[in-house]
């Protein structure tokens, strides 16, 4: 019998008698599988996804209006508006009071419509 044949016999025997892992080996593999399965991290993934949506939204808006300096401008305008509302400068008090009131003649003075203009002209 040739060396090749003998070797092939030994390979054949080896294939037919595979080594067996220890009993807890498969359990360890399954435990790893459970621990690493993406769905096992569901809460984390969901939170991350929501955070991602908001981050993407603000990122897109920022890019559309010119980046973070635009946000700074918007914030300044908003704060200024609030400040004017709470404590308006003296010169603005009368015109604002007029606009918010019901005296249409004073309103026309403020807006300089000129004599003879009357909102009643628009009434049907």
């Amino acid at each position: 019998m040739s060396d090749e044949t003998e070797l092939n016999k030994m390979f054949d025997l080896t294939r037919r008698t595979p080594p067996e892992p220890s009993p807890d080996f498969m359990a360890r593999i399954l435990s790893d599988a459970d621990a690493m399965q993406p769905a096992s991290l569901g809460v984390l993934t969901e939170t991350a996804t929501k955070r991602g949506i908001f981050r993407d939204m603000f990122s897109g808006l920022g890019e559309a209006i010119g980046g973070w300096p635009a946000f700074a401008g918007l914030a300044t305008a908003a704060v200024t508006g609030v400040w004017i509302g709470i404590s308006p400068p003296q010169l603005l008090i009368e015109p604002f009071g007029t606009v918010l009131g019901t005296d249409s003649s004073a309103f026309s003075e403020v807006l300089e419509y000129g004599d003879g203009f009357d909102f009643t002209l628009f009434k049907g």
Binding site: F11, T14, T17, P19, F25, Q37
Partner: protein, 196 residues
């Protein structure tokens, strides 16, 4: 280990990975049953130490779980990829313990009685495993993949990331080396006097 997963038998490894990535626990079990013993077997033939082979197979399977969400179906065979992972992990481990003596090699695991129910079969199994361990790593790897795992040469080339010609050369030299190692043991292994 008994698991009611017969319904998954026809599902490809690719599809099971996808199912696993989507949270299907049955897919995890099916992949474990399909791939873990194979990874262990390959690692054991390379390392010859049960505990080391289990560690390598477990690490390889962790890489399976990790890559599942990114796996691109159809681009590569899962088993080929796993063979490569196991092979590389084995080579890493072997290089870390270059000084490992044969004393550290386990006695070969007892095969099932039905497959090898006599002393001669056990002697042959032991002799081949010991001879494999004595080979240079790359020759051993090529022989294990070709003659024990029965992969085709192109797939071995893919696993080992070498040419088909290099695989042929490694297996050829490996077989010659095995023959030399086993030459003096023909009588003990019961080959002398066998019918041709």
């Amino acid at each position: 280990m008994t698991m009611a997963l017969d319904h998954s038998i026809d599902i490809s490894d690719d599809a099971l990975l996808q199912l696993y990535a989507n949270g299907d626990q049955a897919a995890a079990r099916q992949l474990t049953l399909r791939l873990a013993p194979r990874a262990f077997k390959q690692a054991y033939r390379m390392l010859g130490v049960q505990a080391d082979a289990e560690d390598v197979a477990q690490e390889a399977m962790m890489r399976v779980w990790k890559i599942a969400p990114e796996w691109r179906s159809g681009e590569a065979k899962v088993t080929t990829w796993l063979y490569r992972v196991v092979a590389n992990l084995c080579l890493d481990r072997l290089r870390k313990v270059q000084s490992t003596s044969l004393d550290a090699i386990d006695e070969p695991i007892d095969p099932s009685p039905s497959a090898a129910d006599d002393m001669q079969s056990n002697a042959r199994l032991d002799a081949l495993q010991a001879a494999l361990i004595a080979l240079p790593e790359r020759q051993r790897q090529a022989l294990v993949l070709r003659h024990i795992e029965e992969l085709a040469n192109p797939e071995i080339a893919d696993v080992m990331e070498i040419s088909v010609e290099a695989v042929e050369s490694l297996t050829s030299r490996g077989k010659r080396a095995l023959t030399q190692i086993l030459k003096g043991r023909k009588a003990a292994l019961g080959f002398e006097g066998d019918a041709p």
